[in-house]
């Protein structure tokens, strides 16, 4: 037997890794699910060409005038048909010939309808001979890094690291406790700290696969940018994973049943799924709750990841989120070690 084979820390880590990789459900949630989610969101929020707004007009002249604007698609219909079409959402605006003038019928609270009103009026006025007083030119921006997919990939990464670390630790610890395996282990000369360290080291192994799979996919398929140094992104991922491992350890430190630990997990993770800016910016929540949201470990993790990937922010400028994560690492770990139930 080699000396590595006789090392208990090595054996604990390897055993942990094997157990995770032999669990088909774990493979799905850790590796497949984030990709499925990224694909789904990528399709849902892909950048579409500027939207063409459907409008209606009561005379052929008006239809012709409106057709001059590429942002509008006009159909001729009488007033009754037009009202019906608007009520059913087929058009957002109806232009009605009224003597020499024109009446626009639209819903002012609908932004599309307001846009249509501006475009329609401009087209009709131009057709009637109006000239712009000032010449204007457009410069169109379609920059990588400001798309929704760019925003959501770091969020998914953070969420995935949180989930896999917490489930990975929490479930297997409670499972081992329930099966009296934990008791059998501490009855052996195994150093207790190695048992927990084995978990962390096996997390590191899985982390590499997890991060590379998700980010590699996002880079290849969506061209998501990596503007900051990759090693710093890697470090942020490691800290994130350890932070949530510590939380998972805390959640699992006393629970005796799977039901109990699942409930606790969801209690801890659910607020963060919503508040921490995975799918939309956390800045949308009211200012009063912002300090609370900022103090959550997932918010800090995602902020740091977005900073690195999208803005190329250096680690030195992200000390606040890093400090928040480290606090969430140290405190739960210390508490968990104190209250951990080995049997």
């Amino acid at each position: 037997m080699s000396s590595l084979e006789l090392s208990s820390l090595y054996q604990l880590t390897i055993t942990r890794l094997k157990l995770t990789l032999r669990e088909p459900e774990a493979i799905f949630w850790i590796f497949v699910f984030p990709i499925v989610l990224a694909v789904g969101l990528g399709i849902a929020f892909r950048n579409r060409p500027p939207e063409v707004l459907p409008v209606g007009a009561t005379t052929p002249q008006l239809v012709q005038a409106l057709a001059a604007d590429s942002g509008l698609k006009a159909n001729e219909m009488d007033e009754a048909a037009g009202l019906h079409a608007m009520a059913t959402g087929q058009i957002v605006l109806l232009a009605i010939q009224a003597g020499d003038g024109v009446t626009y019928r639209y819903d002012e609270t609908n932004p599309d309808a307001r846009t249509a009103r501006l475009l329609a009026d401009r087209a009709i006025q131009r057709a009637a001979g109006r000239h712009d007083a000032v010449t204007a030119q457009n410069q169109l921006v379609r920059e990588i890094g400001s798309r929704y997919i760019d925003f959501v990939v770091p969020g998914l990464l953070g969420m995935n690291l949180m989930g896999s670390a917490m489930w990975g630790l929490g479930f297997s610890i409670v499972d081992a406790r329930q099966k009296r395996l934990l008791k059998r282990m501490v009855a052996s000369p195994m150093p207790r700290w190695q048992y927990l360290t084995g978990y962390l080291l096996s997390r590191l192994g899985l982390l590499v696969i997890e991060v590379v799979v998700l980010l590699g996919f996002a880079w290849l398929v969506f061209g998501v940018p990596f503007r900051g140094p990759l090693w710093q992104l890697g470090l942020v991922c490691v800290i994130t994973s350890f932070t949530f491992s510590a939380l998972g350890l805390l959640v699992a430190s006393r629970a005796k049943t799977m039901e109990a630990v699942s409930g606790l997990m969801n209690l801890v993770m659910f607020p963060m799924w919503i508040l921490s800016g995975v799918f939309f910016s956390a800045a949308r929540f009211p200012a009063v709750v912002q300090p609370f949201i900022k103090a959550l470990p997932l918010t800090a993790a995602i902020d740091a990841m977005r900073g690195n990937m999208l803005q190329g922010t250096q680690l030195g400028q992200m000390m606040a989120p890093i400090a928040i994560m480290l606090a969430w690492l140290v405190l739960p770990f210390a508490v968990a070690l104190r209250i951990f139930r080995w049997r």
Binding site: E5, T15, E23, A176, R180, S188, P189
Partner: protein, 354 residues
């Protein structure tokens, strides 16, 4: 009570002191909430001995063994293993003892080999993984996952994890509970092999035949006390006879159909006002115990038990005596006295009652 005699052996070994003992327990007490699980026990196990803790569920066996294994802290008393104490030498002790606990489930998705490699890595010295697989006779299953093992194979795997550190002291907590008879016998063979190899073994069980077959000495526990201690032979001898006769008499036809005064001459004093139980049990115990070779009589749930030393001469006389009393047998059987009978005599209860 002749149990005193058993405590006598205890006293002599106490005088020998704990120095040479592999395990030495003095005045051990442990309570959980308001339940006294272990209520003052003294025991010692010599090197090379196979020692059994026998008793019904809840007798305190597992608590005692888990205190010895360093899993449960004690309230009062001292426990020394190999001359070491848990309070000061826990690390050293864990290296030198091996154990199989009740209800341990190893991860289903690991193979036999992987489990043993993991456990082997915890010990500074020990046998190789291959040797432990061989000892537990799991060669054919070495690459099988735990989830696919039978109950007996899982128990042998647990045994292998106990042996992989080459322990000086081996604890087995109910090693055969829940196993089918064949798997149980297989495990017994294994333990006997370990005994022959000179290992010190402490096991708990609530199967008397297991204790009788495997153990050099047995302590019978009940309600946190040791109520008897000695070799299985010595303990069985305290029952007073080598054999047990059990019989039941025809329960008299119930009084609803036959008034008592119309019944046969059971007992002179039987009147209509006598409780029917008395009528039905109308066995003259004194007449039975007067028979040479019959040591004692007791009744349990309608069945009479006699401990008998000269079965071949006593049985005809028992028949004759019952005939004389006008009783008809509905059941009659004999068996060699077992530790179960010792327990019954000491507590008036059956081992498996609870």
């Amino acid at each position: 009570m002749s149990a005193e005699a058993n405590y006598g052996t205890n006293h002599t070994s106490r005088d020998r002191g704990c120095d040479a003992a592999a395990l030495c327990i003095r005045g051990l007490r442990k309570s959980f909430a308001d339940v006294r699980a272990v209520d003052g026990i003294d025991l010692e196990v010599q090197v090379g001995e196979c020692f059994g803790l026998l008793g019904p569920n809840g007798a305190g066996k597992t608590t005692t063994i888990e205190i010895c294994e360093g899993l449960t802290p004690l309230d009062e008393g001292t426990v020394e293993l190999l001359g070491l104490k848990w309070q000061t030498d826990a690390e050293e002790l864990r290296q030198r003892i091996g154990m199989q606990l009740q209800e341990t489930q190893f991860p289903d998705k690991l193979t036999v080999e992987e489990v043993l490699r993991l456990f082997r890595s915890f010990y500074r010295r020990g046998i190789t993984v291959d040797e432990s697989i061989e000892m537990a006779q799991l060669e054919e299953k070495r690459r099988s996952r735990v989830g696919g093992l039978s109950g007996g194979q899982k128990q042998r795997l647990a045994m292998a994890t106990a042996l992989v550190g080459d322990p000086e002291l081996l604890f087995l907590d109910e090693p055969t509970t829940g196993l089918d008879p064949q798997a149980r016998r297989h495990l017994w063979d294994l333990v006997e092999g370990l005994k022959e190899a000179g290992r010190t073994i402490i096991l708990t069980t609530h199967y008397m035949e297991e204790a009788e077959r495997l153990c050099d000495r047995v302590a019978i526990m009940d309600h946190g006390h040791v109520i008897a201690l000695g070799t299985p032979k010595e303990l069985i001898a305290t029952v007073g006879g080598e054999d047990i006769v059990e019989f039941a008499v025809h329960s008299q036809v119930s009084e609803a159909r036959t008034p008592p005064h119309e019944q046969g001459p059971v007992r002179g004093d039987t009147g209509p006002e006598a409780p029917s139980m008395e009528v039905n049990s109308g066995v003259d115990a004194a007449a039975l115990t007067a028979i040479p070779g019959v040591q004692s009589h007791r009744r349990d749930d309608g069945v009479h038990q006699l401990s008998v030393s000269e079965l071949h001469t006593a049985v005809p006389r028992i028949f004759a005596a019952l005939e004389e009393q006008g009783l008809h047998l509905s059941e009659f059987r004999t068996h060699s006295a077992t530790l179960e009978d010792v327990f019954v005599r000491l507590t008036g209860r059956n081992l498996r009652d609870e």
